[in-house]
């Protein structure tokens, strides 16, 4: 069926709602990349097999990632008139038992994470109930979704459907209010009006730089060209960030809808989604979504019975970080090496094949339908003065609850790490939080009260970036972190302009020297000099921001650099040239774990007798340190 009128959309919505709130039992399994890595695909198949074997009637549906990545595989069980129950750490072996209990509408408690009594649909603000209040009360022992610390302070706009709907079923997206905004925009709004609404929302680009989206659209609208393009930048290259992958895998239609609205507003007739090649599942889901949208008339010629036509193509990246830079991305689509060109002219004036091109990031576009359906003013009430709305962060590293979180801007870093993330894992101490990937910096513990918004993070020497948030504890060496990013950047620098090509290499060599205990006092000055030259003279953002990880660690952790240079010491115990492994005689129980784990026979000792590490043979791979059950292996 081709969607022409509102009634058509409503019909699709109805059948989608029947799938989301079915009359029978429904089981959903989170099948995004991280879920699959933990065996969720096997759990999904096991459910299908077991339901058939035990003759229990229920549907099994794949969904995207719900964000609680450390508890994958995650399974939801929806039994009519009962709260939705979410289970975590589900394994294949659990399935027969779960299915057996399903016959009596019972769910065993051991794996339950939380229950959901009702769900707010952020696209229209309406709440839909799974269970009545009295039924919810009977499940009182199980924590409710909104009361869990992980979710309490979150507000999901861009992630509104991830983990809730089947990403490969357009009806379920429509049931969650999808395509209503695109319909209203294309059939009833003037492009200028849409752009004003987006401007009013204060939405800024979520890919890193934070350029106001409405302003970019206005520039693209005003630019002249025989054809215009809209590109969705899904080349999510920042190590430590995976929100774009999650959206594309879990809710690809939201991005398509955002693109339709953007295309209509600026007058584009063709779009591209440039997805990282390292994300095969995202490529698959987005390709499927485009096909379905085309079949439903939600892409293609004369959409919604108007004269507006729009098509979207998928381009798969071939493994180059620099292609996240917009001019390099364009070069890559055009079939060249991904080398940036100087701006201006900006792509909005002269982009793909020399024509006006508007490039927006995945998360930005996923926000658009909600901005339009709830209104710019509604959106602008969330966040701070200049940073509106929410931002998704991948909260990873040394934190207790790792996962993907979406929070209103202006929340403090401390709240994210401690309240949402549950603090530092293993009872260790927070040292720093890295944001903004290789263009960002490390924020030290003493600044943990900082408000998370574009301006505050920049002031602290980091950036918002695309949303990687890597929490580091006292076992992380900050010089090593700086070296890590520089090693990344020197490999990924395209080599076109000298300051970046030679600068990243020179900085890497100095940092490498320092971590090997061969640093010199004047190295710090030299680091600063080269960093300044890179920032000033590089052509694109890769080189211009490459110094940030070094400068921010120098600013906050200068003592660590001094320690490495003057004392030849790495107190975090990371830089292998500066550390020694030994076994504490008082703690060693002679269990032989370290001897067996050592790959180079550096550990000697008899069972139940104290073990020793030969300094000569030791390659400092940490294998012994990792396996020792009593923490007798010490690093000095």
């Amino acid at each position: 069926m081709k969607i022409k009128k509102m009634q058509d959309l409503n019909k699709l919505k109805k059948s989608g709602e029947q799938q989301l709130f079915p009359s029978g039992i429904k089981i959903t399994v989170g099948l995004a990349t991280c879920g699959i890595a933990r065996g969720a695909d096997k759990v999904h198949d096991a459910f299908k097999k077991e339901l058939q074997k035990q003759k229990v009637k229920a549907t099994v549906v794949p969904v995207g990632c719900s964000g609680w990545c450390s508890r994958e595989p995650i399974v939801n069980i929806i039994i009519p008139r009962m709260p939705k129950i979410t289970l975590g750490d589900v394994s294949e072996d659990d399935i027969p038992g779960i299915v057996r209990n399903l016959k009596n509408r019972h769910i065993p408690e051991s794996k339950i994470l939380y229950r959901t009594d009702a769900e707010e649909n952020i696209a229209d603000g309406r709440v839909r109930k799974y269970a009545s209040a009295s039924q919810a009360a009977t499940s009182g022992k199980i924590p409710a979704y909104g009361t869990l610390p992980l979710f309490k302070k979150q507000k999901k706009i861009a992630l509104r459907n991830c983990g809730l709907i089947n990403p490969a079923d357009i009806q379920e997206y429509v049931a969650r209010g999808g395509f209503k905004a695109a319909y209203s925009a294309v059939t009833g709004m003037k492009p200028e009006k849409i752009i004003t609404e987006v401007q009013r929302s204060g939405l800024r680009g979520r890919g890193g730089a934070g350029f106001p989206v409405g302003k970019k659209w206005e520039m693209a609208r005003q630019a002249e060209g025989k054809k215009k393009y809209i590109i969705c930048n899904a080349d999510e290259g920042d190590p430590g960030a995976y929100m774009d992958r999650s959206i594309l895998e879990g809710d690809p239609f939201s991005v398509l809808e955002g693109m339709i609205i953007a295309a209509f507003s600026i007058g584009a007739s063709e779009g591209y989604i440039y997805v990282r090649g390292e994300y095969p599942l995202a490529v698959k889901q987005v390709t499927k979504a485009i096909l379905q949208a085309k079949r439903s008339g939600l892409l293609g010629r004369n959409m919604f019975g108007t004269d507006f036509s729009f098509n979207v193509n998928v381009e798969k990246g071939a493994g180059a970080f620099v292609c996240g830079e917009e001019t390099a991305l364009i070069a890559s689509i055009e079939g060249y090496s991904g080398e940036p060109v100087p701006r201006p002219p900006y792509p909005v004036e002269k982009g793909l094949w020399g024509l006006p091109t508007c490039i927006n990031n995945v998360e930005t576009l996923a926000n658009i339908p909600v901005v339009l359906s709830r209104g710019g003013t509604w959106f602008s009430r969330i966040g701070t003065g200049k940073s509106k709305g929410t931002k998704i962060f991948s909260l990873v590293g040394a934190v207790e609850r790792v996962g993907l979180v979406e929070v209103p801007m202006g929340i403090s870093l401390k709240e994210i790490v401690y309240d949402i993330g549950g603090g530092i894992a293993g009872g260790r101490k927070l040292k720093a939080v890295q944001t903004g990937g290789p263009s960002g910096g490390c924020i030290p513990k003493r600044l943990a009260d900082i408000s998370v918004d574009y301006e505050s993070l920049t002031k602290a020497g980091s950036i918002m970036g695309s949303g990687g948030m890597i929490v580091m504890d006292d076992r992380t060496c900050m010089v090593d972190v700086a070296k890590y990013f520089m090693s990344f950047l020197k490999d990924e620098s395209c080599g076109k302009c000298l300051p970046c090509r030679e600068g990243t290499q020179a900085v890497f060599e100095i940092l490498d020297r320092i971590t090997r205990g061969r640093g010199r006092t004047k190295d710090i000055e030299q680091l600063k000099d080269v960093c300044e030259a890179m920032s000033q003279a590089s052509m694109c953002a890769l080189g211009k921001t490459a110094a940030n990880p070094v400068l921010s660690t120098l600013r906050y952790f200068g003592k660590e650099y001094d320690e490495h240079i003057k004392k030849r010491r790495c107190s975090a115990g990371v830089c292998s040239a500066l550390i020694r492994f030994s076994i504490n005689a008082d703690k060693c129980i002679g269990c032989e774990a370290c001897r067996k784990a050592c790959p180079c026979e550096a550990v000697s000792g008899k069972p139940r007798k104290m073990h020793k590490i030969s300094v000569k043979k030791c390659i400092k791979c940490r294998a012994c340190y990792e396996v020792c059950p009593v923490k007798a292996v010490e690093i000095r």
């Binding site: 890595a37 920042d238 992958r245 071939a318 080398e339 996962g403 890295q434 992380t476």
Partner: protein
């Protein structure tokens, strides 16, 4: 170049919309089907798309997804994203290197394995992560990684 390879490339060129910009997509397909881009294949594609050989080589050598030498039957990718890095990915890579006796970017003599470093697979919550072909291994230790490799021998 043998006729079989030619036919494969002809088919791939036909599949993509004709145009010089298809070079990246065609190389991706050739890489996937043949395991590498041979010099002959690069020259043939440049001829067919009517683009200079120099441009085809520039594309083939610029992107890390392309290899100019045949890869091993099993491709081991060690994620070196930030989260993996602070959880000891370098040591995991080192262990694999010693086990297979190859450096990252190399292939074992028997062509069973090739080892690659990858800049973030986007499974940061499961760090450190190793991917062998299409299978992702989450939270691997140095010991585990050795037994993982054994599965593919």
């Amino acid at each position: 170049m043998d006729e079989g390879t030619k036919t494969i490339i002809d088919k791939l060129i036909k599949k993509h919309k004709p145009g010089e910009n298809a070079v990246v997509s065609i190389f991706q397909d050739v890489q996937e089907q043949q395991g590498y881009l041979s010099e002959d294949a690069i020259r043939y594609v440049s001829e067919k798309l009517e683009i200079p050989v120099s441009r085809a080589f520039s594309v083939a050598t610029f992107y890390s997804a392309f290899s100019l030498t045949p890869l091993g039957r099993n491709r081991v990718h060690v994620c070196l994203g930030t989260a993996c890095h602070i959880k000891g990915a370098d040591n995991i890579a080192g262990r694999i290197s010693r086990q297979l006796k190859i450096k990252p970017g190399e292939t074992t003599g028997d062509r069973k394995f090739s080892l690659h470093k990858v800049r973030c697979l986007g499974c940061c919550a499961l760090a450190p992560v190793v991917k062998v072909n299409d299978d992702t291994y989450a939270g691997v230790s140095q010991d585990q990684v050795v037994s993982v490799l054994e599965k593919y021998r």
